[in-house]
Symmetry: D2
Subunit: 284 residues, 4 copies
């Protein structure tokens, strides 16, 4: 994959944003390899993502950022420029269920996911061998149900010491404390095993069985302080029948969970997910 | 389609039910054209649906019922036998939105749905011409928001006078009173424009837009006294994106609604839906 | 829906196209309501579609075209500008099967499809009443199997006299002669009842049954001289099982056919389909 | 999972088959845990699969087979009885692409697939470490393009010496010689990376890109002497767009391939796939 700079921005909508951005790029010889934009009529916000062929610019990333700063200021933009050749640093968190973890490890191993998995943190030691086979450090951080604070302190220390860009809760079954959620806004991704907002909280497949739904689903979302209520990145469903008991749903749901999580993480790694309030704009 | 008798039953599960039923049929020369069964391990209930080629029996339907009665009693069965050549009598109810109504009328007109649509009842007069083109009586029964009782009395009178087997709420936007729901258990079918249990109640597409879900859906269910909480017959979803406003969801959702409703009604007309508590067994 | 000008273009890819186009628009005060672009690395072609809020320009459509002409020339563009408020003139062609026709008529009637259906042409008289109920002229043009030329001459005369922008073969079961195909490049849309390139030609559901596939599909494509081989606009599939006979596939396939055709036509009417060789770029 | 005997049969359809089979079972105290049947009106064949709770019978599997033999003979049945507690012996074959292999290994490792993977055979040594981590023997059998006979002789010897019940071609890129195909009828399962019959043979994603289809798929089928033409067990598709190059299709297709192969293998392992001519009956 050719190296690219990814410019991602949002700002109040007005005439001339695209012209200004594309002029800026072309005036420096930059070639636009891909571009997406979206105006939200309900909020008056404008969103844009542009991929610029890095070798079409004589700039470094730093110079590019500097040059773009005054334009961004004049349009009141939230913005960032990323280098596609820099892999994001990912911390995976898991518990005992391995399907999402194994799936992400495989996609990383086969170079489908471009990132660096800097470590796996788990409250159990079960998945150590699988993780270490991939050459990735495994941190077993037990949870004391009577006092979870030491666990989360250590988790936080590990995230910081590994300088993580993004944390993925790959069926990590603990609820993060509010301060941890707040510290990494839109940087902690969770997979919930239901089609939210249905069946938030515990044992969603049992809830689904109880209600007699005909499809079950999974939801990949950013973690916020409110449980299972953060901005949704992706969702999908699969069909079930009256024959399927909760344990069948667990089995069938696993395939949906891992697909949805991998897709959501991929989009995040490629800077395709922009957050607006409690919703996402996904330039897939 | 060859004429068939449809035997549908449920009873406490035990050894020998299938043997007894199939012996009964074959001992009278009956040929089983199709059969489905299901044992629910969580409730200990057994469900079965058998299609018998009518011309393989020297029986009338009445004689068949009589002959089966002692067997049914010995197994403590809930059961019915239907003749596939008798069209069920259907009352359609609608308001102003025509997509579900038009879809059902077309499927009826093209003989895809085997039934008799005995009338359409609406609280508005808008859809009269469309209905009457199909040669179906149209009853305009206005609703007085201050007192809905006269409306529902007249609705009930019409359902009774038309001797309806099933009532379909094809985007009829009024909430039926409890006594009407009770009078026709598992005989009133509604289409709700969300993937229940998410977004029950009013304006589900606006609720979906608010929450930022990535799929919208529709749910076909039997009506009970609790709003949007009856046994689910079928559900489906379609993908949306951040670009879709509530009005786009309305448009995209229409195709899901009409497909799900037509499928659910078809299954009901073919005696494929068995109710167990607040859930359905669908022998599709 | 707010009135918009739709600029659709393709040209050899090079630096500065987006900048030039967006400058052109913003320098005249034009507000970009929506935009899509695509660079095809295998052909070196660039494709773009821009929606401009019409009331943000002090221009007429004609002046806009005139002003854009020199820019288009300098980039060697194939291009067009359309006014979203002008409904395209559509001729529908059908035979005896009514599901696609009825579906398009309903979507037109309910204002979901923005267009003018100027007439329906059929080689049978069966669907006259349905069409005329919608207030649309119905032309019955019989086919003489021994000499189809008079039929196609009359079809061509009707298309011309109605000044059609697009012709939709809504399960019209005749193969158009090459000269008719050539006369309306990328303006004749067909629905084929298989997932092309599988099962081109006659009786695709029977072919599918013979082969034992587990999904059946439908394909909406532009008609070219080669049968069922033109640029594909959209496709979809539905699941079947060993229980489904060809007649069941016909029934299940109808829902796929009408959905795919309606979606493809909608995209065409909104100038979202660009053709490149024998393939399409769809800015959906 | 409770232990069960699986009786699978096919025979010419006639009155009384179900009665005879269910009588046979219930007369020995056997409890039917699950049952499926299918009459094919086009061939006059009848298919049945029954799961009997093993602990409801006082029989051994051998005695059960013996007792059923005369019944089977009188109905001219093809039949088998399997013990659900005996894992089938599976040989996996792969080349360099690991996604299907890794997926099956994971499902085996997590006990989702109930079988014994007796060995992996590959014409390359690349995947040895992944396989051996699972504790499974890895046989590297190189192919000499000038003379493939020694390779296939060794493959055959390994299949025989491992006493395999089923061989899975998990993206093994060699075409099996006719005699090997014949030796294991309906016991060699292949995954082809297209929605067959479209794009049989080499490089299906490139063929799909060339044709401009809007969905790509995968097909799991039994191997016969004719390339990519054996009985289809399962298929699925995923949506693509004009943006997707063949390499994107390869990536997106991997998820479809592995899901379809895992589902097809699971059904085979559970004796749910019955072959009729070049088609399958799948009691899923």
């Amino acid at each position: 994959m050719e190296r690219r700079y990814r410019l991602v921005l949002s700002c109040p909508d007005r005439v001339g944003i695209v012209a200004m951005v594309s002029n800026f790029i072309s005036s420096h010889g930059g070639s636009i390899a891909d571009a997406n934009q979206h105006s939200d009529p309900t909020t008056g916000c404008f969103f844009m993502r542009v991929e610029i062929s890095a070798n079409s610019l004589q700039f470094s990333l730093e110079q590019l950022r500097e040059a773009f700063t005054p334009i961004a200021a004049s349009f009141n933009m939230d913005w960032q420029i990323e280098d596609s050749s820099r892999p994001k640093r990912v911390v995976l968190m898991a518990s005992r269920e391995s399907h999402c973890l194994a799936d992400l490890l495989y996609r990383f191993h086969s170079k489908e996911l471009f990132c660096e998995i800097v470590c796996v943190i788990s409250n159990h030691d079960d998945l150590r061998s699988m993780v270490e086979w991939h050459g990735i450090p495994y941190h077993h951080v037990p949870v004391d149900p009577a006092d979870k604070t030491p666990h989360f302190n250590e988790v936080n220390r590990l995230i910081e010491s590994h300088d993580a860009d993004v944390v993925v809760l790959a069926r990590y079954m603990q609820i993060l404390p509010p301060d941890l959620c707040e510290r990494y806004p839109h940087r902690i991704i969770n997979i919930h095993h239901s089609f939210l907002p249905s069946f938030a909280g515990a044992k969603p497949y049992h809830q689904a069985h109880e209600r007699g739904v005909k499809l079950i689903g999974a939801t990949c979302h950013y973690v916020t302080q409110e449980l299972d209520a953060g901005p949704i990145i992706d969702q999908d469903v699969t069909r079930i029948s009256h024959r399927d008991l909760p344990e069948d749903m667990v089995r069938l749901g696993r395939d949906v969970e891992k697909t949805v999580l991998a897709r959501g993480l991929r989009w995040h790694l490629e800077d395709r997910v922009l957050v607006q309030g409690n919703k996402t704009v996904v330039f897939a």
